[in-house]
Symmetry: C2
Subunit: 273 residues, 2 copies
């Protein structure tokens, strides 16, 4: 079997994509990962399609200064808005979160009533609905934009008992409860931090789909199927790059990554790519 020791590139508008890195490193501890978080221009989720495509192209152009075997778009907004463009323009595989999350939702639902939460732009794109309907044309998808979830998570307000996040979550999730969904796609890589709050609001019978974790699973399957794993069982490294100050990275990053960040962090002038 062929071995491919080149690193996997992962990027996000900010640090939410580290939830995918966390899953990827758990699944494939022998792979090297290069992560770029566009902290100088975060958030993407309220911006227009044109701006997101432009930013995403620059993110990929930076990552491709490394010799990568694949790129994982660990960002719901970019995946819903720019995956086609990026996949067409690049000779290496570019994998997003939409397909894996849609497959998980289609597999988990029993009633066919699926909920979707994401940023304004993700929901407006209709990409998750199209992917779910391609798998299950009878599925009823109820979609709800949740623009305050990202800033609330980044402010540390993601814990049960916080009346602010609980009030905002209850408002956003009410149409999904009313629609009786039995499966809910957390369509943004920031949202796994809200899993407890969302689960408490939706009830124990509703299954939650973690898009970052599903994307990591799908990337692992893809590399395995294409004989492109490194062949190492452990010892993979992570390199981190951001577009704003490195100093501000470590604290928030460790929340998403589930461990301390001990690696050096590089700064990138992303407007130049």
């Amino acid at each position: 079997m062929a071995l491919d020791t080149r690193p996997i590139g992962v990027f996000d508008s900010g640090l939410g994509g580290l939830t995918a890195v966390r899953a990827l490193c758990r699944l494939l501890p022998g792979e090297d990962v290069v992560y770029f978080g566009d902290t100088g221009r975060v958030p993407y989720g309220s911006r227009s399609r044109e701006t997101i495509v432009k930013y995403a192209r620059q993110d990929v152009a930076f990552l491709r200064t490394f010799d990568l075997k694949a790129i994982v778009i660990a960002c719901g907004t970019v995946s819903t808005t720019a995956l086609d463009v990026l996949a067409a323009e690049n000779p290496i595989p570019v994998l997003g979160v939409v397909g894996p999350a849609a497959r998980a939702a289609a597999r988990l639902t029993r009633s066919g009533r699926i909920g979707l939460i994401g940023t304004q732009t993700s929901v407006r794109s209709g990409a998750y609905e199209r992917a779910i309907h391609a798998l299950n044309p009878a599925a009823q998808v109820t979609a709800q934009p949740c623009p305050l979830f990202v800033p609330l998570v980044e402010s540390g307000r993601f814990r049960p008992g916080d009346i602010v996040i609980e009030t905002v979550a209850a408002e956003y999730l009410e149409p999904l409860r009313a629609a009786g969904v039995d499966t809910l796609v957390l369509g943004c890589t920031h949202y796994p931090l809200l899993e407890e709050v969302i689960a408490a609001c939706m009830g124990p019978e509703v299954r939650l789909v973690n898009t970052g974790a599903e994307a990591a699973l799908a990337a692992a399957d893809y590399l395995r199927a294409h004989g492109a794993l490194s062949g190492r069982a452990e010892g993979g490294s992570c390199r981190f790059f951001v577009s704003d100050r490195q100093e501000d990275f470590a604290c928030l990053a460790s929340t998403f990554l589930g461990r301390d960040v001990t690696e050096a962090v590089g700064q990138v002038d992303i407007g130049q790519y």
Copy 2:
């Protein structure tokens, strides 16, 4: 007296600066205004000094493609972080919000205990404290960053009775209440929309300083003192430019501007400046 019919340039990280345009047009209805809102990269308030200086230079470079008589930085974050650099680099007057707000606070306080709220970067800069202490060395300034105020305002959650904004405001403002401030500088041009919520929290005896309105007053005084007014009593025009989609501008802009936006809005590729 000399007349100067060139327009005044105004910019902000996003649309909050329109609260200054609103005041400027009310004070000087015969002046032309060119506004740039960096909606493609908003918010600035959580970014590093280096990134803010870079973005602000590009904002000014775009505005200066017009033949302007002065530039008003209608952004607390840029004023606290990049005013010196911008003023030194440009041959036309560059006016910020810090000086005018500090003068208003120093004039209004009786106890000398002054509160300041702003973005993370504004508060970290210490610029308001330095400006207030230059006027009143005995003043006691208590500063509090309020990172969620901008996203909450942009989500329309700025009205009294909303438990989310009221809870967040009560938390942020508690140290200022505890310090017994009698004057509070609203150090971000988004915050005038929160005036009712903040006033209810602080009590009627605390005076609030609206930085956008103070900056507009100071700009009017400056132009008058330098014989640089247009000489027209009315009929000034406004031109609006943004760095993200124009289509998304009008709705939120009218909230800040206090009137409908009927003018055409231009889009700018700000990364090129």
